[in-house]
Symmetry: C2
Subunit: 291 residues, 2 copies
């Protein structure tokens, strides 16, 4: 067990706060506390380089005895920088930063608790996922100044029920509505995201909700060879976008190049760094007729 008591108790108090909503007072400072404490636990650990099978990217792991973190992108991971800029983890602070700094800050902050939890509890998938969901959800809710819901009413010709959803934002009558699934990685489960978008399109009208999937990374580590690759299925995403529903944006903290290139050909899936969101949030919130 490496995770200090302060990280564990900060995680517990963050999830308690988040139950009150993503715009709950003190959620920002709760996130900053947890990220800061995680960074101080992992920041000084020695890095062990991985053999990278991802062109143009280098990865390492942090170790605590036999326990290792998930792969960490060394070009984006900068604990000292992130620790000094935690106060900029707001939509305005981020929008004012240069894009390269914004990417480093967002990636390092997102990775902070994930790496600390990897070292603290072997096989803990759940708390990093919950942290990442609160982290991204809070930033997006703050950017839109809107508290999301996770259920929508259904009332169709006498069939009344409630639909459980990912975070959905209603930005007001003359704004778009947002469907925000958040996942640390997608793998083969990602078809669920397009299927949920299809349900929203069907029940509430095509393009009523803009689908904005946000992910951490698609890294996949081979322990035997201490190497790392990216698991990407771009052809399947093309088929989902053609035949299930249309996602408006797909953001990553560590963007796979094979997905980013999907924007260049039909059906033009827009895959970008999450850093870009803070420059285009207003445009995403704006309803516009097709050109």
């Amino acid at each position: 067990m490496l995770r200090g008591m302060s990280v564990a108790s900060s995680y517990a108090s963050l999830t308690r706060l988040a139950k009150g909503g993503l715009l709950t007072p003190h959620l920002s400072s709760g996130l900053r506390d947890l990220i800061g404490e995680s960074l101080s636990v992992i920041g000084g650990r020695p890095r062990e380089a991985l053999t990278s099978n991802v062109p143009g990217k280098s990865y390492c792991v942090l170790r605590h005895g036999a326990v290792m973190t998930r792969p960490i992108n060394t070009g984006l991971f900068d604990p000292a920088f992130a620790a000094s800029r935690l106060h900029d983890l707001t939509p305005m602070g981020l929008a004012a930063m240069q894009e390269a700094d914004r990417k480093r800050l967002l990636y390092t902050a997102a990775m902070s608790y994930c790496a600390a939890a990897d070292l603290a509890t072997r096989g803990d998938q759940k708390t990093p996922g919950t942290f990442f969901e609160i982290f991204v959800g809070h930033l997006v809710a703050s950017a839109f100044n809107c508290e999301p819901r996770q259920r929508l009413p259904v009332d169709i010709l006498g069939f009344k029920t409630e639909l459980p959803t990912d975070y959905v934002f209603d930005l007001g009558d003359d704004k778009s509505k947002i469907h925000l699934p958040i996942k640390t990685s997608t793998r083969e489960r990602v078809i669920q995201v397009w299927a949920h978008q299809r349900v929203l399109d069907g029940v509430y009208g095509i393009n009523r909700f803009r689908g904005v999937l946000t992910c951490l990374a698609e890294t996949n580590m081979q322990r035997k060879t201490m190497s790392v690759g990216e698991t990407c299925l771009p052809d399947q995403w093309v088929i989902y976008q053609m035949y299930i529903a249309q996602m408006h944006r797909i953001y990553y903290m560590d963007t796979p190049d094979r997905y980013a290139r999907l924007g260049d050909r039909y059906p033009y899936i827009q895959v970008k760094p999450f850093a870009s969101f803070f420059a285009e949030a207003e445009r995403i919130a704006t309803v516009a007729p097709a050109e």
Copy 2:
């Protein structure tokens, strides 16, 4: 470790055989061997009754010290009967049995290795899932006398790729095609099944493939209270059937009543015991215009 060497080695040889296809010679006898050996490992174990929150159904677990099997439906589980009728685990043998016997034989055979694996390796989800997939896949492939595929070619206006799928059967030009997902239980992941059906509808044409989902059960055990319930989300299934795609049949070894009742109201999802398949396989294989 309770699983005898013969169960472990029979499982290994079954999965090796199945790599050659679901109609590989000796796959039938490999399945019968594994089921028979599993039954002899679990058959004599004392049953511990569970508190059932499922109206009209009783459940028990088998125990090996602190390790327990998944919940077992006592009204359908009959190891002595199943062991004496293993030779009837063929489409013809099953079709010739009374429906109540067919249900008992199919349920007990499906549960045999799952329960044996539950007792042998705590938390082993994978080998019961693989066994169940081979068990159901082999029976359906035998009924249709058709070897399924797990990839389909895509070639759309210059976009060429291969689509990985669940088992898909091409029964010939004047027959329907079958899409057969197989799951021990569905939970929230079931939306994937409708999404895959939607992709097949989109790429190959609406109703070109008939979707036939086959499941073991939806039981959910609370260890604290030693009680069992069924996790069912019928309203969500209605929404998936209305807005994603249309599944033709959903079969269960242990059919949840709340799902079976979906057949009575729009959109009339047909949820039935897998025993029914052997009486209606010919009809499912027959292409017919809508009435």
